[in-house]
Amino acid sequence: MAFGTYKEVVSARATDKAIQKVAQDGGIVSALLCYALEENIIEGAIVAGDTEDAWKPEPTIAMTPEEIIAAAGTKYTFSPNAIRLKEAVRQYGLEKIGTVGTPCQIMGLRKMQSYPFATRFVADKLALIIGIFCMENFPRDSLKTFVEGKMNSSLENVNKMDIGKGKFWITDPEKESGLALKETHGYEQAGCNICLDYVAELADVSTGSVGSPDGWSTVFTRTDNGADIFTAAVEAGVIETKPMDDVKPGLELLEKLANGKKDKGRKEIERRVNMGLPSPF
């Protein structure tokens, strides 16, 4: 199955203009976390906050909607949000926590919940886990190398990064420019090449841009908890939805990419195993 277990898939976006303005796609992550915070479903959220260094995110414990929204937008480099989970539960005193992560990070969280070694009374405090689709992620030095070396810009100048239509896009004050994805190959972290999960199959809710039009997101609800929160947010008018069948390019493209990632990953796993290298899957 390309998408893992899910209840429903829709195209959606946040109705709040302030979120639309800063969000990567439909603003689903920020809108859901803000809604959950305001409804006391969560007491805080761990997100990828900005730092003084351009495009160097840092896991951040957000306690207000403003802090959640300040961390909106995709950073194409690592933000290991789980690293602050324990602190969020302990010194921050949060008993209900929301977080967001790439599929591999969600896998880590679920593992933590299944085998809570050193996370006693910690992993059970996760009340909302939002997964974002992911084809690969880059070390920050990789980003710097191709943004500077291949796109004639600098990280400090880039306002937005995005991946779509076969290209890696940057927007700087002068222009928007794209770099063919084959030019970024080899710069991703090595683990991504054996990753089989495109759509965060283990999250409560997972979301990404692929499948939906610009400014909208594709959303899977997966767990009872995730579906309840998403439905409530839609009913509260915080999020608006459209059936997947009504939008372009639709699920077909997403399915192609999700299956493509699995095929490529399995091939790479086989190659590594044949060389006598270890494989986690």
Partner: protein, 405 residues
């Protein structure tokens, strides 16, 4: 006719120990000897030669009952060796941690002695309140020190992090709500202890009290010059016991001492009752002291303040002393750091102080009361045990030689 009663291992305490009582025709104890038979500890050797930060992490594994006081005494010793003055907020957080951890530990002791004092119809009530107290007290340790069992955030130089305002308020509210639970529990236990037909004067001894502080512990208290340590062969007048005992015998001014809740109350609050009943009552009374101090700290804590001092980890080989009042008494760790490595380490833990005192405390009463006397000290043996050289083949002590660490 004289006879010998041997209880091995003594029960409802942590670790393994043996109580040997010589009795007369009436069954009255004429000579009591109590000694540890828990296998070696050896942590002092393990931390030597490693970075100073290793010591608190390993030393908290000395004991599963008091990981928190051992961590604390360890960082206190390191702070002293490295000449660090920790920030005020860190000192408050450390005291909050000890107050909560000791409250939890005293509650556990009520589990252990419940069969001695609590009648069947009140058993559930007592055990439920012990559960509630423990849960809340450990929650505080979790939050402040990062982990209830092996706290990760008690650091050389202070505490890893301060609390958030939200956490401070939550803990304050929780502990406020715990006050009536602790009050009722202490009243219940106090009445049950007083109602029990314990013979007058049971366990009363003349050993001096050994205590550094009402709650947290004070480094200045411990004067190394007044301290000596002898091997068990020199202490126990029975050579067989001298050989099998696993702890050295620490003496202060050349005398064995009593440490723990009663000793603290005796020294600092004018509480002069002695013996088993007094020890139980003192322990119960301390639960209230700990809780009210924890609440006061949460009230005054500045959550925006820094909690970790900058320091130079290289060290000057200064002998650092850490003194913490653990539930069972004064816990002392000593450390020397030189060239960024621990050059010397030693832990003098509460039960080790009490071991030579507990045996004689059984004397003069029927041997059936012996275990009660021991339990009143709430001994915890795993931390008390030192290293000795044994023959691999027959397990005997080699050449009566104890490795002094």
């Amino acid at each position: 006719m004289s006879d010998k009663i041997v209880i091995s291992p003594t029960s409802r305490q942590e670790g393994h120990a043996e109580l040997v009582m010589e009795i007369d025709d009436e069954g009255i104890v004429t000579k009591g000897r109590y000694f540890s038979i828990t296998p070696v500890r050896g942590l002092e050797k393990m931390v030597t030669g490693k970075a100073p930060e290793t010591a608190p992490v390993l030393c908290q594994r000395i004991c599963g009952v008091c990981p928190v006081p051992h961590t604390m005494a360890s960082v206190e010793a390191m702070d002293d060796s490295l000449d660090i003055e920790i920030p005020k907020a860190a000192a408050l957080l450390r005291e909050l941690t000890i107050a909560s951890s000791n409250l939890n530990s005293h509650a556990i002791h009520h589990f252990l002695v419940a069969p001695d004092f609590v009648p069947e119809d009140l058993f559930k009530t007592a055990v439920d309140s012990v559960g509630t107290i423990r849960k809340n007290a450990q929650y505080v340790v979790d939050m402040v020190a990062g982990e209830g069992i092996h706290p990760s955030d008690i650091r050389i130089g202070g505490m890893a992090r301060n609390l958030s305002e939200l956490a401070r308020k939550k803990l304050y509210t929780r502990l406020k709500a715990l006050v009536p639970v602790v009050d009722n529990h202490v009243e219940l236990m106090t009445n049950l202890i007083l109602e029990k037909d314990i013979p007058e004067g049971l366990g009363a001894i003349t050993a001096p009290v050994f205590a550094s502080d009402v709650i947290y512990g004070k480094r200045e208290f411990f004067d190394l010059d007044r301290f000596t340590e002898i091997v068990p062969e020199l202490w126990y007048d029975d050579p067989e016991i001298g050989k099998r005992a696993c702890t050295t015998v620490p003496l202060y001014d050349g005398l064995n001492v009593e440490t723990g809740p009663r000793a603290r109350l005796d020294k600092f609050q004018g509480y002069k009752e002695k013996g088993v009943v007094a020890q139980h009552l003192a322990r119960a009374r301390e639960m209230k002291t700990y809780l009210s101090r924890a609440i006061a700290i949460l009230d005054e804590l500045d959550t925006a303040a820094n909690t970790l001092a900058d320091f130079d980890p290289r060290g000057t080989n200064k002998l650092g002393i850490g003194v913490v009042e653990a539930p069972r008494g004064t816990d002392i760790h000593m450390a020397q750091v030189k060239d960024g490595k621990t050059a010397f380490y030693s832990a003098l833990v509460p039960t080790t102080w009490n071991i030579p005192t507990m045996g004689p405390a059984t004397e003069g009463f029927h041997h059936e009361w012996g275990p009660h006397v021991i339990r009143a000290y709430d001994p915890c043996l795993s931390c008390a045990t030192h290293v000795m050289v044994v023959d691999d083949e027959d397990g005997s002590v080699v050449k009566n030689e104890m490795v002094r660490i």
